[in-house]
């Protein structure tokens, strides 16, 4: 058995969207290095529940497998914490030193208002998709056979790589301009690479980018911080691609 770890945590507490938030200090001891970050928070929450009889720390999570995109957390100044290519639920305590002080904050971005403690409202992402992030096919089941239009493997793979975005919002949280360009470009690219999505590509790119601006996300200035923090390794290449698409949508 590896040695157990102790931590000091500075956690952002905020009762609701109106109230002011503040950092509160907690201690947790005897944490296994094989615990995930969220399991460590579970342990802390149980402690708080009975030591202080105060309300537990609220944070978003669901699948705990790195796929639903629900977990967030800004840990020691990094979206999803210090490990690369993982979500917070896949971050393990072995990535921290014994005795370390860990800062835990919510995603901070105007289009992601805080709901409580570490939970933010990311429905602006849904609204961007609603503005056109789809192929307008009916769901009547009278579509053509899936093999009638062959798709070159490289294209299909590229579309797939873009489609792996889990909509977590780390790219926004990591960006100094609070741009949602990585997220938006991933979605636009997925469809632009596929024959099925090409017909509507001009309308799609125009609508989604306009919506992104309207929601209050900043513009992309190519710092590539998003790519570094994206748990799914979405490449900023897609941003370049979408910039071209955007310009050609005017012609």
């Amino acid at each position: 058995m590896k040695e157990l770890l102790n931590f000091k945590l500075k956690i952002w507490r905020q009762k609701n969207n109106q109230d002011k938030g503040y950092f509160k200090t907690y201690k947790v001891n005897n944490i296994s290095p094989n615990s995930s970050f969220l399991e460590m928070l579970d342990i802390l929450n149980n402690q708080i529940l009975f030591d202080n009889k105060e309300s537990t720390i609220s944070f978003d999570h669901d699948c705990r497998e790195g796929i639903c995109g629900m977990c967030s957390l800004y840990i020691n100044g990094r979206a999803h914490g210090p490990d690369n290519l993982v979500t917070t639920c896949q971050l393990y305590m072995r990535n921290f030193h014994n005795g370390e002080t860990i800062y835990v904050e919510p995603w901070r971005a105007k289009p992601f208002p805080i709901i409580k403690d570490l939970i933010v409202d990311r429905s602006s992402f849904d609204r961007i998709i609603i503005s056109g992030g789809f192929i307008s096919v009916n769901t009547f089941g009278k579509t053509i056979d899936g093999n009638i239009i062959p798709i070159p493997k490289e294209k299909a793979d590229k579309a797939f790589d873009a489609a792996t975005c889990i909509g977590c919002g780390a790219c926004v949280a990591a960006c100094k301009n609070r741009s949602a360009m990585l997220f938006v470009s991933a979605k636009i690219s997925q469809f632009s690479f596929l024959p099925q999505g090409r017909i509507e590509r001009k309308k799609r790119v125009f609508n989604m980018i306009s919506k992104m601006d309207e929601e209050g996300f900043g513009s992309c200035s190519n710092t590539k911080a998003c790519e570094v923090e994206c748990p799914k390794g979405i490449s900023t290449e897609y941003i370049t691609f979408v910039n071209k698409e955007y310009i050609s949508s005017f012609t």
Binding site: E39, D42, I43, C63, A163
Partner: protein, 677 residues
Amino acid sequence: MKYDLKKNNQVPEGKIDKKWNNHKSILKLISPNNRSNFDIIIIGSGLSGGSAAASLSELGYKVKVFCYQDSPRRAHSVAAQGGINASKNYKGDNDSIYQLFHDTIKGGDYRSREANVYRLSEISSNIIDQCVAQGVPFARDYAGYLETRSFGGTKVARTFYAKGQTGQQLLLGCYSAICRQIGKGKIKMYNRHEMLDLVLVEGVARGIIARNLVSGKLEKHSAHAVVIASGGYGNVFFLSTNAMGANASCIWKVHKKGGLFANPCYTQIHPTCIPIHGEYQSKLTLMSESLRNDGRIWVPKKLEDANFIRNGIKKPENINEENRDYYLERRYPSFGNLVPRDVASRAAKERCDKGFGIENNENGEGVFLDFNSSIEKYGEEKANELGINNPSLEKKRQLGKEVIESKYGNLFHMYEKITEKNPYETPMKIYPAVHYTMGGLWVDYNLMSNIPGCFVIGEANFSDHGSNRLGASALMQGLADGYFILPYTIANYLAKYVTYKNENFSIKNVEFNKSESFVKNKIKRLIQNNGKKSVDFFHKKLGNIMWKYVGMSRNHTGLSKSINKIQELRNEFWNNVFVPGDVEDGLNTELEKAGRVADFLELGELMAMDALNRKESCGCHFREEYKTKEGEALRNDLHYKYVSAWEYQENKFISDEIMHKEYLDFNFVKLESRSYK
């Protein structure tokens, strides 16, 4: 008798391959201009709820969708890894509707409804086409055509996939279809809302009570029909592969309003999960079944080797070929590593029970899933393809690893992150874990529960899987129900209300107030309880009881014991649980959990009762008293060829529930004992 389920199941007469078409031709229609007068509530935005929402609003109905997550894109379907079945026969391996039907019926150990499964097989092809049209990036071969692979319990490659993220890609397809309708104003989405009661007016489903999880306020919503698509109840075991928020509350509320609960004891245990490694653990992680295509499962042949491995004295690489027991290939030569999940899970348990487990945890539970021979085989093939003569072993392994990475890269990455071990270099360790529930609310052929106006689709219903589910068939069922079945059958139900005034369907009805105060009181009781134990404490304890006595194998003594234990635990819960906060407070995650665990504590008892009643072994339900000489499951068709459907008795205990039976007919397939030898 109140319920003659066989008579009421609405299965059409006639030849099995004609049933669905004939049935469709007699279903009533609603004209397009009338459809917008109908409100439909859907609970759940996973593959079943999402596809239903998209199709129904496309047809013109007004739809409200509820989910507890912050966005419909996060429904638990997103986690499905392996793939979705369809009998397209693209690979020319003689697949057909009949083959898929037969495999599924056999996989379910002859405890599913024949007509439903046939319909599912018929529809399967459409699903793939629909998803391709939506832009789902399925895997493709170099010629640009759709790629498939093979899953447990079948001898053909009919599983379509998108790397290890098939669920996410299918769900995003569905989600984009929902978003399109939200944009048109036809779907209203209620994120972060939890359904807490079903409202009946004169015995008919007319709406729900939901809690806004952010504001904490209770809301009333009325509709002409309520569709339940809330997923499965595997979280009753606490540790499972399900999402942490997945719950049984929705179906349990319907059950307590009169909805029959069918086959509660059928829980699928998935053979390839990462073994438990600590007490703090909050959930188990699945390694997709598709890995069994290329991984070989083994444990050491000698007890001492197993011991050495557990204690870190030997590594798997130190055990040479003749000292390895590839027990699935040994016991089931014709299916080998691709036997169905229940068979593979029990075989792993059998080896570990005998002391051959390789993981250093409490019970030494774990077996190896080894990719070494595939890496070498693929490396050799690739070298040939590239024209490399006499490649070194190193080169071969490098090429082989690349092939494996292209197939399962993200799964290997996930495994490494969790365990710190690199599965390209050393075999994965796996062990069975709770994964999927085949039981659920009883529905007829039209997917309607015994409560008129309350439809149930996806994992929440019981209909298509029998006592076991083959891999890649849950996604298929969810989408078949939502895209292609419900839209037809719900119209048939709604048609009788075309001339009704909408006031008849309003939240002004007193029943809504009654339900609301019922829910409010329950919340109050939880919050004002002021006990000494956390909700998680009770959930874990329940999970232990369930896993020990109602898990992979069951017996009379254990099941009887578990029933008492669950009752005791439930009493303790209501006396001693602590939930912080105030009734009027907004977001309160402890309260959310408390409500869900309260329901699990009732459902757990019903699961044990159902398992106790079923004195046979079938599929995932393995009763130790009923097995063949070789230790395989021994079914009893003479006495148990039925679906058990439990009826809750108002204001009585769970132990007072009454069981009804829907006897199953098999006219198209011959009942056989399931063998994968």
